[in-house]
Symmetry: D2
Subunit: 300 residues, 4 copies
C-alpha cells in the first residue's frame, strides 16, 4: 500500500526501508533535507512539505508520524488533521504519552480521520526488519485496512490491535516500564558477579545465559554483544538516561494505587546515576556525625 | 560416557532421559523405588544404594548429584567422597549455596576427587532437552573430561566452565537473582495493564511481546502459555514462593556492599505476598490515627 | 486579632478554640449547623454564609480556609476572592496541592488580596494547643500582619514564613513525604521485633525508645500510646490509607529526577496494603510454575 | 556501685563520667594509656590490665565492656569469663551482633556469671548525660542488681530489661534499622526541598519541624544543628558510612521472610553512596545503546 512517512530519524528511516522492502510505496517528509535524500535513495518519493506529502497520496490516505513525542508530535498531528480528509488514516508511531494520544484521537474523530496510536518496539533493527507494534485506535474494522502494512513490516505475530485509542501507547509505556525493571535486574546481577570472589568473563556469561537459561531473551543477547566489544565496559560511564516512559509507567501506577516496587526502584536508580553526589547523603552523614561523632567524608 | 545419577526428582529424571538420548549410559539411584523404576524404564541401569551405584561405574567414575540443596546434598556428597576414588568426578547439579560448594570442593580435593558445582537452568524442559549449565570446579583441564557430556545435554552454547570451585553455583545464584527481578517487573507490568482504563487480552499481549519486542524472552513466552490457560489467572493466588537463591543473591550483595534495589524489592515483595496482613501496616495505621484521628480499618 | 474561619471539621474547630484561647476573635462558618453551634459554644461568633462571615469582619479582613483540599477549597477560595477586598488576607490552612495554591495566589494577587498557603502539622492536638505552621505567600511584609496570630496558636518556634506563594504547601507536602518514610520505618522495625525469637512488650519498647534514644520523637510517643491501648494491635487491620501528600512528594521527586527510594517504598507499601492479593503475584507464580513446575497456591 | 569499665573510647569515657557523676565508683581499663589517664582525670581508678581491673573490684563484681563489636569484644569477653567468678556481672554495652551475644551468654552461664547484652543509644551526649539502654540477659532477678546503675546513667524511663540474653542487642539492632529508614527519609525530604522551585533556609526548616510538627524528634533537632553550621552542607560529601546494624536488621528480616522495603532501600542507598559509579549503570547504558542506539556517556 501507499504510506506517507513524516519524520525520518533513525527509526523513521528504517521503517521506510522496511515498508519499501515489503512492497509498499512511501512518500517521505522530514524537516531535514539530507534525511529526505536518504529516504529517496532507499526508494521513497520525496515531499518537502506536509501539504506536498498529503497531495501525493491517494485517498484514503495513510500517514505515519514518527517524530519526537510531545510538542513536535502535537504540532504535526494538528497540522495533518487540517490536511487530511474524512476516511484517511493517521498513525502516530512515536513514543507519545497515551493521554496525548487520547487527545489526538478526539481531534481526528471530529474530522472523521481514523487515528491509530502505535507503540513501536524492537529497537532500530526491529524498525528495519521485523518490528514490534502495539496499535490502539479508532476501531478493529478500521484497523483491517492497515493489517497488510503491519503484516509486512512486523516480526511474525509481532503486531497487535490493542483496542480503543490510547491503548497502543499505553501498552508501549508499560512495555518500557517492564524493560526498565529487567535491564536494572540484569545490570545488578552483573555488578554482583563483578564484585564476586570469582573471575567471570562477562561476554561468556551473557552468551551462556542466552542459550537455554530461564533469563534468556533479547536483552541478554544485547548484553553479550556489548561485552564482546568492551568486556568490562571501561569506556562508558554508568549514567542511565531515560526518556520518559518509565516515569509515565510509575505515575500511572501511582494514579492506580498499584504497588510497583521494582519499576520504581529501576527508575529511581536511573535518576541516582545522573548525580555525582546527593544532598540526601550529606544530610544522613551530618546526622550520623551529630549523634555519634561518626566521621564524615570532607570535601577537600 | 557413563554417569551415575543420584536423585531422580523431576529435574534428575529429565536429565537421565536427556543423557541417555545423547548416547550416555546412566546408572540411577534414588531413595524412592518408583523413581528408580521410572529411570530404568527410560533406559538407565538401577542402583539401590550409593555403594551399588559406585560399584557399577568404571573408573574414572562420574557421579552427578541432583538432590535438594542443604542437608540432603551435604550428606550425599559426604558419603560419596568416601566411596569414590582419586581421579573420579563428582558433579553437584543442584541448587547448592556456593559456600557449601566451596566446602564440598575442599572435601573432594583432599581425596583427589574432581569436584564440579554445576548450576542448572532452563527448567524442567531444559533438563529434558536442551539444558543450561554453569559449571565451576577443580580445573579447566579436568573439565575437558566432562565436555562431551555437557555438549550433548546442553542447548548449543548452553554450558560454560566458569572457573574455580564455587563459581558455578555462584553464577546460578546470581542468575536467579536476576530472574526474581525480571519476573517481578513482568508481573508489575501486567498488573498496571490489568488496572488500566483499557481492556487488554493478556495472552495476546504476552504473545506480541514475545515476537520482536525489546522485552522478548523465555519468561514472556511462559507468560503467554500461562495466560493461554487462564487469561486472568483466576485460579491461583498471588503467593510467590521462593527457594533461597534470590535471598542468597541479596545477602551476597549486602556482603559486597553492592546496591541492588531491584533484586531487593523483588525478593521483599515475594515475602510480602506470603502474608495476609502486616504488623507494619497496623503500626502505621495506628500512628496515623494517633496524630490525625484518621480512620483505621477495624477488625470485625 | 479578628479571624474568619471557614470550615469547622476536627482541625478547623480545634484551631478556633486555639485562636480564641489566645485572645483572638473568631467568626466561624461551616456548611454544617452543628459545627457552627460547637464553634459558638467555644466563643466564636456564628456566620451562616460566606457573605455574612465577610460582612462581620473589619477591614483589613483575615479569613482562614480549612476545608478539604481539591474542589471544596477551590470553590471556597473562588467565592472568597469575590467577597474580599484589596488589602484583605486569605489563608488556606488545608492540605492543598501546591500547584493549586500557585493558582489561588494568582487569583488573589489579581484582586490585591494577600494570599498565604499554610501547611499545618501537629495533628489535632497541635491544632488545639500548639500547632506547627509553614506559611508561604504574598510577601514577608504582608506576613508581618499575621505574625501575632501564629505567635499565639503555634508551638514556640513552631511557625515559619517560607517565602513565595506555594512554598508553604510544598514544604508541608515534603513534611508528609518524610512522615511516610519515618512511619514505615517504625512499622517495619516493630514487625521485625514481632517476628523475632524474643518476646518484647511493644509498649515498653516504644516507651524506652521515647526516652533518650536516637529515634525518639513524637511518632514514637504515639506508638507508645497506641500500644498502651492494644499491645499487639489486634483490633485493627494493616490497611494503610493515604491522603495524597506522599504521592505528591514522589511525583515531585520524579519531576525533579530526584531519587527518593525510601519515600517511594513507603508509599507503594501503603498501596500494597490496600490489596488482598496482587496480579503481580499471580503472574510471578504462574511463571515459576511454567519453567520449574513449582507449586502454585490454588484458589479453592 | 562499683563498676569496672573496659574500653575508653568516646562512648566508654562518656559513660565513665556519667557513672561517676551518678555516684558510682569506676575502675577503668583501656589498651591506650592516654585514655586511662583521661578516665583517671574524671575520677576513675586506673587499671592497666584486665587482671588488675578484676582484682580491684569487690565481689560480686560488675564489668562493663565497651569495645568494638566483633573480634575485640569476643576476645575481651573470653578473657573476662576466665577472670570473673560465679555470681559476677558482665555487661556488653557495645554494638555486638545478637548472635554473638547469645554465644557470650552461654559462655558466661557455664561459669555462673550473669551476662547482660546492653544496646546503648542516645549517641555521645546520651552516654555522657542521659543515655538510652535496652538490656537483655540472664534474668529479671539478676537485673535487679544493676537497676541502680541504669537508673542513674539513663534518661528517665530510658532503660529497659528486654528479656532473655540477646534480646537487648537484637532490639538495639532493630533500633538502628529504624534509624536508617528515618534518616534516609529526612535526607530525601531535604533533597526534594533543595531541588524545589522555592528557596528554603534549611536551618529554619529543620527548626520549625522540630517544634510541634508530626516529624519532630531528636534527628530533626540534629538536622537543625548541622544546618546551623553549614546551611547547604557544602563542606561534606554525601558518602553514607554504615557500621553494620542496618545490614543485620535486613539480614534478620530476610531470615524471618519479613518485607522491610524502607529499611532495605535506606541501607542500599548507603552502599550506593560509597561508589563513584556503578557497573549496573554501565550495563543498562550499554543495553539501551544496543537496542535503541541511545547515546552513552563516554569516559574521556
Amino acid at each position: 500500500m501507499q504510506i506517507g512517512m513524516v519524520g525520518l530519524g533513525k527509526m523513521g528511516l528504517n521503517l521506510v526501508k522496511n515498508m519499501i522492502r515489503n512492497g509498499n510505496e512511501v512518500v517521505a517528509y522530514d524537516l531535514n533535507a539530507d534525511a529526505i535524500a536518504e529516504a529517496e535513495a532507499a526508494g521513497a518519493q520525496a515531499a518537502t512539505t506536509l501539504q506536498e506529502l498529503v497531495a501525493k497520496l491517494d485517498a484514503p490516505r495513510t500517514v505515519w508520524v514518527m517524530v519526537p513525542a510531545g510538542a513536535p508530535t502535537d504540532s504535526t498531528i494538528e497540522e495533518l488533521t487540517n490536511l487530511l480528509s474524512s476516511g484517511d488514516y493517521l498513525i502516530d508511531g512515536g513514543n507519545s504519552y497515551y493521554k496525548d494520544s487520547l487527545r489526538h484521537a478526539e481531534m481526528c474523530e471530529a474530522k472523521g480521520i481514523n487515528f491509530f496510536d502505535c507503540g513501536t518496539s524492537g529497537g532500530q533493527s526491529g524498525a528495519l526488519e521485523d518490528g514490534n507494534f502495539m496499535i490502539g485506535g479508532t476501531s478493529a474494522e478500521a484497523f483491517e485496512h492497515l493489517k497488510p502494512l503491519f503484516e509486512g513490516i512486523a516480526e511474525k505475530d509481532g503486531y497487535l490491535y490493542t483496542g480503543k485509542p490510547g491503548s497502543g501507547h499505553y501498552m508501549k509505556m508499560v512495555h518500557n516500564g517492564i524493560e526498565y525493571g529487567m535491564m536494572e535486574a540484569i545490570g545488578e546481577g552483573f555488578e554482583v558477579l563483578e564484585k564476586s570472589p570469582f573471575d567471570y568473563d562477562n561476554e561468556a556469561v551473557a552468551k551462556v545465559w542466552s542459550h537455554g537459561s530461564v533469563i534468556r531473551g533479547w536483552l541478554m543477547e544485547l548484553a553479550e554483544e556489548a561485552f564482546a566489544q568492551d568486556d568490562n565496559l571501561d569506556n562508558i560511564s554508568g549514567k542511565m538516561f531515560s526518556s520518559g516512559e518509565g516515569k509515565w509507567t510509575l505515575e500511572e501506577a501511582l494514579d492506580q494505587q498499584t504497588s510497583t516496587p521494582v519499576i520504581a526502584a529501576a527508575l529511581l536508580n536511573r535518576y541516582r546515576s545522573m548525580e555525582e553526589d546527593t544532598f540526601t547523603g550529606k544530610v544522613v552523614s551530618a546526622l550520623r556525625h551529630g549523634f555519634g561523632g561518626h566521621a564524615m567524608d570532607m570535601k577537600k
